[in-house]
């Protein structure tokens, strides 16, 4: 039923796009140049959406934040319908009132890129098993978290979280406490992944809009490093006071690794990120298809991983596609409903201009990334920052110019979107996935609000304030 709903949604978007003759002309024209630029140029001719069209976006984000807590039963059963329905309102409005199918197709293309990357990382890492039989010490835990922060930039915060959460729990099984998991979420599921577009979904969306792959590591490492160090220091202090352990228990010190072929899948996903007509000239542009060669490769990895992953490993990992299914449904709604919000924010920022400081961008991107999802929030504020300087987020050359001339704004938005995703369970996709794995193991996790007031507010906010004081004040 839900699959049919999603399929219908895609078909409607693509058919609207095909029916639009103006778009067909654009596509022919775009074949020899960069498609995005052409589409965006035409997009500029369309009038701005009505402000009321932001309502579906706001409603969806509020429901994502409150659904799992206040009306979980309804939400668990109906979130796909809610998401697709709200997205459909915007699709209908853009198709029949604004006659702007360019924005819809552009968004659909972006959605496929986003979900193909996340799904492939999810399925490939789900078939890898790491078993560690060592005695947990604060130093070993710091080492695992630091390793997680680094590899999050290679296999994504989703992949790193999936790969490391089980060995991390296993090592600490005799001294398991919620703070261990919370710090794992802080570092591996969020802040660690700030150095590459693969690291965290918001940065990948920025990459899709035209930001260079290596821009992030060049401009963020010197903020990433002290932030990670400070959080690890706080963790070490807390973890050193955890004296629980099983007396007399012996450890073999063995580290067991299974699922090597899935490492090859991860490598394929990583290489595929660069297979883009805008990055490599030999890559065929498959427009008007919303799925490019990169996405075809990544989705093939999903099928391969599903068919060839070892059953024993999947059972050990209690593999379940529900988390990625949830992301797929929610983000089809988010991507569709945020189209008017992105255009309006960009327009308003253009008008407000000089009044918006880099500090404002840091805090507003950050705080909203914490309570909403950080990926759409990132795009909204990136759009606003570009608008401030008269650039358009839909024009790749504008994004590239902005990246080089006003890098501090882009840096503040990127840092804030990734770092603040750790503020709540709903700030970033892997946060919920880690919580889900931990609860399946029978460990009670803090509630939504306890997570915030016991951990995020006293630990993360002071550290983020320090980042702001040093870099953006």
């Amino acid at each position: 039923m839900n699959k049919n709903l999603l399929l219908l949604f895609f078909i409607v978007i693509i058919s609207f796009s095909d029916a639009n003759s103006a778009f067909a002309q654009d596509v022919n024209h775009a074949k020899d140049t960069i498609t995005n630029v052409e589409i965006a140029t035409n997009e500029a001719k369309h009038e701005l959406p009505n402000t009321a069209m932001v309502i579906p976006f706001v409603v969806l984000l509020i429901m994502i934040a409150t659904g799992p807590i206040l009306y979980s039963h309804f939400w668990e059963h109906h979130y796909p319908k809610v998401s697709v329905l709200l997205g459909a309102i915007v699709v209908f409005y853009y198709s029949f009132f604004l006659h702007d199918t360019h924005s819809l197709l552009h968004t659909l293309t972006e959605y496929f890129s986003f979900i193909a990357l996340l799904a492939s990382l999810f399925f490939a890492s789900g078939g890898i098993m790491i078993k560690v039989d060592k005695k947990a010490t604060p130093l070993l835990n710091v080492g695992i978290l630091l390793l997680g922060a680094i590899i999050a930039n290679v296999i994504g915060t989703t992949g790193a979280s999936m790969l490391l959460i089980r060995p991390f729990i296993k090592i600490n099984q005799d001294r398991i406490k919620p703070y261990l998991i919370i710090f794992f979420i802080f570092i591996v599921s969020n802040i660690g992944g700030a150095l590459t577009p693969i690291g965290d979904p918001p940065l990948f969306l920025g990459f899709l809009r035209g930001i260079d792959f290596f821009w992030f590591i060049e401009h963020i490492w010197y903020i990433w490093l002290p932030t990670i160090a400070l959080i690890l220091l706080v963790f070490y202090f807390i973890d050193s006071r955890n004296k629980d352990s099983k007396p007399g228990k012996e450890y073999s010190g063995k580290i067991e690794f299974k699922g090597a072929k899935n490492l090859i899948y991860l490598a394929i996903i990583l290489v595929a990120v660069f297979i883009d007509p805008n990055v490599m000239s030999w890559v065929p542009n498959l427009a008007p298809s919303p799925i490019g060669l990169r996405e075809i490769i990544q989705l093939s990895v999903v099928v391969l991983a599903m068919k060839t992953s070892d059953n024993e490993i999947l059972k050990y990992n209690e593999f379940n596609a529900e988390p990625i299914k949830e992301v797929a449904y929610l983000f089809i709604g988010i991507f569709a409903t945020m189209i008017p919000a992105l255009q309006l924010i960009s327009h308003e920022a253009n008008i407000l201009g000089d009044k918006l400081t880099v500090g404002m961008f840091f805090w507003s991107t950050g705080l909203l990334s914490g309570v909403l999802d950080n990926a759409p929030t990132y795009l909204n504020f990136l759009s606003a920052a570009l608008g401030k300087f008269g650039f358009n987020i839909n024009v790749a050359t504008d994004v590239k110019e902005f990246m080089n001339t006003d890098y501090i704004f882009l840096q503040a938005i990127s840092v804030a979107a990734v770092f603040f995703g750790a503020l709540t369970y709903i700030g970033n996709g892997p946060n919920f996935m880690v919580k889900s794995i931990v609860e399946r193991a029978g460990i009670e996790m803090p509630s939504f609000f306890a997570y915030v007031y016991k951990y995020s507010l006293p630990i993360l906010i002071p550290i983020f304030a320090l980042v702001w004081l040093v870099f953006y004040f």
Partner: protein, 121 residues
Amino acid sequence: MKSITEVLNENITGLHYGCRVLLPFQAEILKIVIGTKIITNFSKNLEGACVRITDFYTEIYFCEYKNLAEELTKYEVVKLVVVQQGDDVFDFNKHIPIELVIESKHKLLIKPIPDDLLFFE
């Protein structure tokens, strides 16, 4: 009536029908983990799980599920901490962690939780 240990040693299976699970032993249930839900409330309310111990089996109703076979994936199991009825529930050594695997034709495999599966009492 078999004991829990006998059921585990002899690989005796239980049954499942919709949201109902039947275990071929008499047991006090201390904790259930199903999906992401950790259930420790076995009072008569309709949330979570409802347990009934008869002279011939122990049955559990998972009230929030329509059909366990449809809602749990083939890699998911239901995890429980049980104590043989009549044994000292306050003695941690008597607590037995088991997993229930939903099979076709209403068959329910009952196994001890393997060491490498993450489960905390």
